[in-house]
Every structure is written in C-alpha cells, then in structure tokens.
Subunit: 348 residues, 2 copies
C-alpha cells in the first residue's frame, strides 16, 4: 500500500458565496454580554487602567486565575473593549478611549453600575422564552413591569450615569432664569428635573414616581444642591392628580411602556396640568419611520415586547402625532447627541 | 410668570468624544442570540422565503401575533438577517443571501438545527456565572463536558450541516484512489471520515467515538453510501487502543478540549497507530499568535474556558509545535475556506 499523497493543488473554493459569519456571531452573542458583565463585576477595566496591564499584574489585582483572565481579556480585545500589546515581557492589555471613559471606575462618566439593571435576571431571563412572547404578542401575565418592582430601584441607582447626559441635553431646552414650575413625571433617579433645576435657578421641580424610587431622586437632589426647590409627588402617574399650573412637564422614558390608548389618556391629563403656553417635553428612544434605524433606538422595541403588554419604541412621527392628538401645537423634536434619545416637545 | 422659552440655539455638543454605543450593544447582545433562536424555532426565514413577506401573511403562516412578529422582524433587519421594503401595501420583509442560504429550511445548506447545540441550556447557562469561572480558571466541578453527555447527541445531529463544508475541505487533502486505512477520532456525526470515503473509493474508515454518537455516524455513513467501508470503534479515545497501520488519522475538533499534557500523550498514541509515511490531520479553530484574530476562531477560547478544565483555542503555531513534539515531521497547515477552521498536518 503506497503512502497517501496530500492533494493540495485542488481548486481553491474562494468564489464569493454566502457566509455563516453573522449566524455564528449572533448565536454566540450572549457570550459578549456575559463577558462584559464579568469584566465589570471583576472591575477589570479599572485594574488595567491602574497597572501596566500585564496578565501577571492583573491576576494579582483581581485575584483571578491567569487562564480565566487571559481568555476574558483576549475576548474583550476581539469585542473592541481593550487593546493588546505584545512586547518582550509578554502580553499587555490597555483601555480603549471608550473603556477609559465609561468603564474605569474612577472616570466621572463610569457606567458600570448599569449592569445591575441591564443584566438583571428580571430582564435577561425574560428573553429565555422569546418564542412564546412572539407567539402571544407580549409577556406572560406573571411577568409584569410595574414601577413598584425592585428592578426599578436597580434602574434608578444603576442607570443614572447613562441618563445623566440625556438629562443634561434635555435641560438645555429650558435653560434660563424665568420662574418656572416643572413636573418631572416618572422621575426615578430624578436627573431630568434636577438638570432643569441646575440650569434655571428659579425652577421649582415636582418629582412624581413611586415612593421607593423617589427616595433615590431625593438623594440626587440633595447631592446636586437643589433639594430646596425639589418636592415629591409619590404615586402612579396614571392614577393620582398631577396638580396644575405647570410651565413644563417632563416625561422621560415613560410613554414607551404603554399602548397608544393609555398614552392618549395620559397626555390629555398632562395637557390639563399645564398652564397655557406651557410645554410638554417627552424624551424617548424614537426610531425613524422605517422602525429599523438608528439601530439602538430601533432595537429598544425588543425590550418593550418582552417586558410590557402594549409598549413599543414609537417612531418620532408617532410621538409627534400623539402630542398633536392630545391638543399640543408647535410640536417639534430635538436630537440629544451624544445620547441615543430624542426630545419631542409640544406647546399648550 | 412668563412663558418658558425653549433654548435651542445653545452650542451643539458634537465634538468627537467617547461613545457608549459599544457598551450598550454588548450589554444587550444576549437579545440577538434570543431573537435568532426564536426566528429559527418559528421557522420565520422559511415563511418569509415562501410568502410575499408581508406581516399579514407571516402572522398567518407562523400563527404568531402581529405585535411580536413586527418587533422580531424589525430587529432581525437591524441585525442584518432580513431586508425590509416599504410599499403602499405596508412593510414587507425579505431574506438576505446569507439567510436564504443558511436559514431557509429548504436550502441544502440549512444550519437551523445548530440551535439545538449552540443555544442548548447546557452551554448557554454555563456563561451565567462567568465571573466565578474566570476567578477559578475553569468551570465548577459539576459542569463537565464529556462525550457521553446528551449534548453531544445534539452536537452530532445539529452541527453536521456546519461541519459538512469543513469535512469536505479537509477531505480534499486525501483525495485519490490509493488504498487507505483511515482512523476518524472523535467521529461524532462522522462527516470527516465519510468525506474522505467519498473522495477516495478505496479508503476504509474506522470511526472512533462513544457509542451514543457513533449511532449518528453510522446513519450518516449509510446516507452517503459508504457504510460498506465504514467500521465503528466505540470508546474513549484516551483509553482504548486505537489499532495500528493507519495511513491517516483524522482528529477534528477534539484537541481544544484538553490541556497540553493530555494532548501530548494522545498525539504520541496517534503516532504509534500510524504506519510510517502516514499522516495526522488535526482540524481546529486555530487563531493567530496574537490570540485575538481571526475573531471567530479566537473567540472560541471562551467556550473552552467555560466548558473544560484545561482546554483552549490553541494557536496555529501551538498546534504545529504539539505535532512536532509528538514526533511528526513536515508539519504544515491549510486554511479551509469558507469555514473558520484550519487543518494542521504532520507526517510520521
């Protein structure tokens, strides 16, 4: 029997053809979320920022195995969260500008505590039976987001840093020194109303939300030195009276939880609470009419499908139409760069 | 009290600055895996391929809610799995070339059954406590991949279509009509040995694996009409005698499960089983020396960290070195496009 010869001159299969890359990467995309959560839990980005980034130093600083850290760091390089240097002393990892800004614990823009909300089992596990949700058109009756859930405390405490620039950009719409009474509906962390109080020394804020999260809003109002112009209105925005005579009503990240009928009734209630000439300012993930762009606001629809019976990432034009149907005029919208959100504004 | 004026002429915040896009997208990446799994479970891609792709027809064909399907289809457009057309009759969805090739059930290259393995709770849930795995350097002792687990039946049945082109490309190395006795170690679905039998009418294949998965290999050998040249060697490759006098030993997708010591011992055993002039053909996800490219082979390290006590995505040069240490000469490697794998070959 002769020696087998390798056949290496056969025609190369390199003509353009469909690629399974996207299929592979998407099937395994859950590993990306897990890796980022783990890196944040281990405070790996801070450890890299504060050392030479060598594996040896990272194992010492984090108390983790070298095998685990090497795999994790390499994967984070692939995902774009770290850089990697090869020198004579071995591999070293470094922070990208985004990671230095958002994932180093000593950065003022640190976002790491958002994992407590974004990676909470309440949200993540809701996607485990997405097939049943798509069939039924909404979550099972046992899975109901309401504002009294503990997860909203995670939101209030964890998502503040993500919402801070949105709130700051939104508040610019109300910059000035006119006396103003402002209602912040679904205040949560309170940052939207607080941002307005910071850019207008004569603004008085009424923060509406469930009592558990209003405690966080109150803490934040104190932290930012506006507590003397900050009052609390605890309760369910759909149920309690809102008060009257407001110069502006802020509705940040709330309408997407509801169906259009609920929104219509609520916006009429807001209209009634404003004084003539007052403004409603809705802040939303508002995709374009195609509902598939920009990607981050448009993707938000999945969260609403899985977590609410009738919510949606309403398009910008749907938001404008809802304000007009409620009686608002001069409706207009403003992007809030560098965030992914849009302010939609109407005049009474 | 005057009317609040909107301050819209404030300086735009558009100077280049760090972006939280990657953070957001990665935190929510698990939703991508869930959406793809659901679309496959609902056979949505086939439904789109066989209809006009309108939401109305898709709800009828899949029995799903319109709300659920609209959100899912829009999200799949964002991810690049579907196209979207807006015409007077409403939105319609279409298949991309990749989705038509790999996700339409009537395509000969359909990969959908891979979800049974790639999205199996055994694999996915192992990432739930990645932090503990990174700390410890491997999975908890209760989570042990061995070839007798039911998940390997899911692999054998589900991953065949993904492995088919890898096997076909590998077999080209052994094309011809010389009489040859070939050992396929860790045969599983059997496709590697079967592909060799198909390109060499005088090749006789010995398929080694645990009995439960060898049943799948046998089925496949019959399906491809090579059963008369196909024999089974049931057992654990590390334990049982391999036989002797082989012209080639195929080791597809196996070495990555083991630490280097285990691999070294096993490769010496393979060396002994080959006749002089025989070849070992290892097939692997083999990244470059930097361990972060190409992305898919390099990312495979995470699976090995989470599922094996000592496995790894060994680099191409590590694979070559391991063959040389076991006594093989003329060691060389061959990319297997369009797949993500590499054949590493050595001569006795």
């Amino acid at each position: 029997m002769g020696t087998l010869e390798l056949q290496l001159e056969s025609e190369p299969i390199t003509k353009a053809q469909p690629s399974p890359v996207l299929f592979f990467e998407t099937m395994n995309a859950y590993q990306r979320s897990a890796a980022l959560k783990t890196a944040i839990e281990l405070d790996l980005f801070t450890a890299i920022g504060e050392t030479s980034g060598s594996l040896h130093e990272l194992t010492e600083k984090t108390g983790c195995s070298e095998r685990g850290l090497q795999a994790l760091c390499d994967f984070l390089v692939i995902l774009g969260f770290l850089t990697k240097y090869l020198d004579e002393s071995g591999d070293r990892y470094g922070l990208t500008p985004d990671s230095a800004a958002f994932l180093h614990k000593k950065s003022p823009r640190y976002l790491g505590m958002a994992v407590n909300f974004m990676a909470s089992p309440f949200l993540v596990d809701a996607f485990k039976d997405l097939t049943a949700v798509v069939r039924a058109g909404g979550p099972p009756s046992g899975h109901k987001i309401n504002q009294e859930l503990p997860v909203w405390l995670d939101f209030a405490r964890g998502m503040g840093p993500i919402m801070f620039p949105v709130a700051e950009q939104t508040a610019k719409l109300l910059e000035g020194d006119a006396e103003a009474k402002i209602l912040d509906v679904s205040a949560c962390h309170g940052l939207f109303g607080i941002a307005v109080a910071r850019v207008n020394p004569n603004a008085k804020i009424v923060a509406l939300d469930f009592p558990n999260v209003l405690a966080v809003a109150k803490e934040n109002a104190e932290r930012f030195g506006v507590a003397d112009r900050y009052s609390l209105l605890p309760g369910d925005a759909l149920v309690i009276p809102l008060g009257t005579g407001y110069d502006a009503v802020l509705i940040p990240n709330l309408l997407h939880h509801w169906d259009r009928q609920t929104i219509a009734a609520f916006l009429r209630k807001v209209y009634a609470a404003l004084k003539p000439g007052g403004r409603v300012i809705v802040v939303e993930f508002a995709p374009n009419d195609d509902r598939v762009s920009p990607p981050i606001p448009a993707s938000f629809v999945m969260n609403m499908l899985v977590n609410t019976p009738g919510g949606k990432a309403y398009t910008l034009n749907e938001n404008l139409a809802m304000l007009e149907e409620a009686g608002f005029t001069s409706c207009d919208s403003f992007q809030l760069p560098p965030t992914f959100e849009t302010a939609i504004v109407g005049l009474k």
